[in-house]
Structure formats: C-alpha cells, structure tokens
Point group: C2
Chain length 350, copies 2
C-alpha cells in the first residue's frame, strides 16, 4: 500500500440520512425508521434503503441523534479516590480487581453496543469534572468504584440528580443504587474453613475499620468463631497492603506464638503474612493455616497458593451495569441494591 493515497472507504464528507434518502428515493423519516427498526417498513423499500446505506457508506451521526434523544448511550466508569500520579493510577488500574470490574461491566455493555468511558477522580476538582461530564450529557450515568469509604462523589452525583450505581454500600445513607457482597458471610466461610481443618488457636488480620466491608468481614468471622466456642480471637488491624499484612503477622507471632490459623481480610495481607511465616520457619498450611479474601492475582502467585474467599466481582460489575442501564431507561423506578454471596476457594494455604 502506498503511503500517500490510502483507499477511502469513507470519502471526505461523511454521508447523512439525507444522502441515503436521496439515493434510495425515499424520505429521511423512512431511512431513520429502517436504521432504527422503529416501525414496519415495506420490505421492498427497506431493501432499497439498505442498499443505499451500503452504497453511501452511511454511518449515523451520534451527536445529532443524542441531541434529540437526549441520550448518549455511554456510561462512565469512575474510579474514585484514586491518586493523581501516574504511579498511583497504574497501581489502581493494574490491580486485578479493577480488571475484573472492567471485564464484568464490558460483558454487560458490549452486547448492547455500549462502551464505558474511563474516569478517575481523586482531589476535589476532578470530582466536579465527573459531575460536569455527566451533566453535559457525555454519559447517561456513572458506575462508581470508590477506593475509600468516605468518598464524597456518590453524594455529589446524587444531589445533582444523576443516575449512578456504586460498588459497595455507601458509608452514608444515600438514595443510590449499589451492589455489594455479603461480607459477613465471607467472614463466616473463612472461620469455618479454619475450624474444619482443625485449627485451635485462630487469629485475624482485619482491614481498616472505617471501611464497612472490613467491619463486616471481621464481624462475620468473630461471630462464627464465638458460636463455635472461641469467645476470644486476637485481632490486628491492617491497611489492606502486603506490608501491613506482614507487620500484623509479626505482631501476631510475637503476642500469640501458638497461633495455628489466620484469616486475613484480603489476599495481599495474607500474602504478607505467608512471607513472614516462612521467614519464621512456620510452614503453611501445616504449622499455620492462612485464609485470604478476594481471590485476587496475589492469591495465585502466593506460595503456597491461597485458600481464599472469592467475590464474584465480574458478576457484581455486570449487575452494576444492568442496574444503571435500567435506571437510565426508567428514572422513576426506585433505587435498588443487590447483595452477592461470596464463595470459598480452597487451595493450599488452608
């Protein structure tokens, strides 16, 4: 192929409905009806229109359509609370959790010919940008994944009257739809797995206690342990990072040397714990069993591979998309929430 004159499938001026109508010898309205399959059209005319569309290489102009339908057929996927630097961004985006969210969202949107716009909001101003973006009609609604519990974005979106669905219940009471996991149930699964493998001295590394999900995981874990006769369970708080998990494990070994089972509120902390245990010569799972949470990539790369509590993230994300599309189409319906059940994935660590 020569560099200079590339073949022009699309010629200079893109063709319009008017052009197609002229070629097909019908009115704009009829072409529109064929394009949108909006009313019965005589088969012969339909064919003629289709031929004209092919001949002219017509592609409907989305801006013109949006202008009258007041719909962009686009959703925003907002990661809120992410840091602004490329490094932090890369960390968030590179997180397998994010990948699973995107995959779930896409799986619902793609069959509908929709594609998400990716946005990241952190400092005050970028949150306003998100709201402005939606208010300008760039997107019909927002799928919001907050990395922090106290994220103000849901409130902003709600008070602007824009459709949105959250991943995880908002910290404050808000008239907004969300999907979430039965975190307590996840804590219960972890407890039962540890007890089932015969552990007698069990501790837990919980997540930051201002995060509702971390609270719930801990509560479910504790309650189940208590119900099985373990009234006291040592708890150390981590920050959902591998380092904090390692530090917590050090402390646990220090204060409770006899520990033989650990539930970490996410896989990253569990991986940190495993590393510390190995350094201390405690084999996993023989000396100490470890259960993680999330079933992230860390669960697989960890040695040994982690037994963990899996969130059906893809399904949850797909449900978010479903809820949002539904809300965009029927703004009058009440907000809804869907809670998913976690699942225990047994690998080698417990």
């Amino acid at each position: 192929m020569l560099m200079s004159e590339a073949p022009r499938t699309a010629s200079r001026a893109p063709s319009t409905l008017e052009d197609v109508a002229r070629v097909a010898g019908v009115s704009r309205a009829t072409v529109s009806r064929v394009v949108n399959a909006t009313r019965n059209v005589d088969p012969a005319i339909r064919e003629a229109v289709l031929a004209a569309i092919a001949a002219t290489g017509y592609a409907p102009n989305r801006a013109a359509r949006s202008l009258v339908t007041r719909r962009s057929e686009t959703l925003a996927l907002v990661v809120s609370g992410a840091g602004g630097t490329p490094d932090e961004l890369a960390r968030v985006v590179g997180d397998p959790f994010f990948g699973r969210v995107v995959a779930g969202v896409i799986s619902h949107l793609r069959p509908r010919g929709m594609h998400p716009v990716l946005m990241f909001a952190e400092a005050g101003e970028t949150r306003e940008q998100v709201v402005a973006f939606l208010r300008q009609g760039n997107a019909d609604g927002a799928l919001i994944v907050s990395t922090h519990a106290q994220d103000p974005l849901p409130e902003l979106i709600t008070s602007a009257g824009l459709p949105a669905v959250l991943f995880a219940r908002p910290a404050a009471l808000l008239p907004i739809s969300y999907v979430d996991l039965a975190h307590q149930e996840g804590g219960r699964l972890a407890a039962e797995q540890l007890l089932a493998t015969g552990r007698r001295s069990v501790a837990t590394i919980c997540g930051p206690l201002d995060v509702p999900a971390a609270q719930d995981r801990l509560a479910g874990f504790r309650e189940t342990m208590a119900r099985r006769g373990h009234a006291y369970v040592p708890v150390v708080e981590g920050q959902f990072t591998q380092e904090s998990g390692a530090a917590a494990m050090e402390r646990l070994l220090d204060e409770h040397p006899g520990v033989d089972g650990v539930f970490a509120a996410n896989d990253l902390m569990a991986a940190g714990a495993c590393e510390v245990l190995r350094e201390h010569g405690r084999t996993v799972p023989d000396a100490v069993a470890v259960v993680g949470f999330d079933d992230s990539g860390a669960a697989l790369t960890c040695r040994p591979p982690l037994t963990t509590v899996r969130q059906p993230v893809e399904e949850m994300a797909a449900e978010m998309a479903r809820l949002l599309v539904e809300r965009v189409e029927h703004p009058d319906r009440p907000v809804a929430s869907v809670i998913f059940d976690p699942q225990l994935v047994v690998r080698e660590s417990a």
Copy 2:
C-alpha cells in the same frame, strides 16, 4: 437526607444557552463566547453572563456542540486481539502493562478535560464495531494496543481514514503513527548485564518470531553477544507465557547443562524459567543468572525478583495520546513515530 426529595442542584429541565442569555440580557452568541473564551467580551457583560450561568446551573450540551464542531473531544482506547470471554478480558485488563498504558494515557488526557472510551476488539465483528464507533463520531481517534502482531484492526482503521496511533510498530507497512521501544537496545542491555556478571555460557528464550518486537530483542541480544566473542548462543522460542518459558528452560537445561545465564524475552517466561531452575536445584542468580523483559508485575512477584529490561510504558502511552490529539487537530500533518529507549532494572536474578 431524605430519600424522596433530594436537593436539585440541577433542576428538571437542564438550562440552555438560550436560558442563560435571557437571564443575562444578552444574546446566545455572547454567552457562547464567554463559555468558550473565544473572543473579547466586555468585562461587565462577561460578569453578568457568568452570574447567569451560575444562577441557572448551566452546563453546555456536548451533543449540540459536537454536532456543529464535528468533534467529540473523546478518544477511544482500544485493546485489540483480546479474547471475548470475561476471564480473558480480566486477564488483559488486570495485566499491569495495561494499567501502565491507561495511566500514561490519562496523564496526558486529563489536563485537557478528555477521557478515553475503553473498547475491546477481538473477533471480526467487534473490530467493525470499533470502526463504526469512530465513524459515528463517538470518538475523534483511536489509541490501539494490539495483543497480537497480525492484528487487522490498524489496517481497517487506516483504510477508513480515521486517526489512530499504535503501541508498537505494525507488522505490515501502514501509513499510521506509532510509538515503540528500541527493542534491539533492550536485547543489548540484557546481554551486557549477563556478561558483566561474568557469565560464560549464555542462552536465550526468545518470543514468538512473528512478533517484530521479539525479533528485535533477539537480534540486539545476539549481536551484542557476537560482538563480545560469543558467536553462538542457544535460542529456544517461547510464546511469552510462563508455561512456555518453563518448557524452554527445561529444554535448555537438557541440551546445554552448563548454561549459567539466560535472557528471556519477557518477564513471564523468565518467571517460568526461574521456577524450573529452582526445581532442578539451580540457584538464581548464583548458578544461573536470569534477565527478563518488561518489568511487569511478574518481575516483582518472582523469587528472586527479576533483573529486567523496562519499557517506559507510561511515557510511551502519554506520547501516543499526544500524537493522536495532534493528529486530530491537524489531520494534514504526516504520520509520525517515536521510539523510546529501554532501561535496565537490576534486582536479584542477575
């Protein structure tokens, strides 16, 4: 906050330019000029308009604007060649490489108030969707990251006359802009590191040889080795997967038991090689040094952490965005390419 009557920052009918004009007592044109800072406007009038905008809660309608400007102020970020199932999607999106690309793109786009639309194209039909999406004016251009060398999307886009920038040089000669890495230089860095650590019997696990990048890495590696007196270097071809890296290492150990240094053309294969070496009781780096390529997450989770050749992915992605924006604004300028230099990251494996 009550669930029923949320405060309406944006009232029912969004206000238009017309509304603002009426409130400010000026014409639509003047308001437009203020909004777009397109011409000098009398300070007093300007203030009045600004006040009216605040009072009405006006947000410009993007569809209407796009209709006349023929610009969507949106770019598509296309991952082409990705699998269609949620699992495969999650794998691609969860790849730290993708995260770094997104971070780089965002870092350039966000200051300009632009946000990328995420699209995945795999089978034939979804590629057409991407083209249709662009032709409808949903996005002004495409940033394309192909996972396979023989991806037909660049050709499709080019022949439709749509602006696009590729990550990595296209396999076929195409009038299209791209950014790429000096892969040969990367191969050279790997060779020199292995030689610098005193390795005498060096082999390489190269990537699929239909991928230009794999060829270049191999060529750069070989040439440097040859120049340093190592005329023959055993080569085993891998498929850029951890399994293929492991298999290649097995074969290398079998055919060349004396090997004491290995350059794997990506980190995943290097990780596979490390695992096999460990199983065979060869310590890394003492018995065998291993150098990877990419500096992906695998380089860090690998035991020992990999010495590897890093691509400045964020910068490359940002440059892609820059090139594309430039091309959208000046379609008549010739296509351009920018080649980045790799960097050796020394960790523990070599």
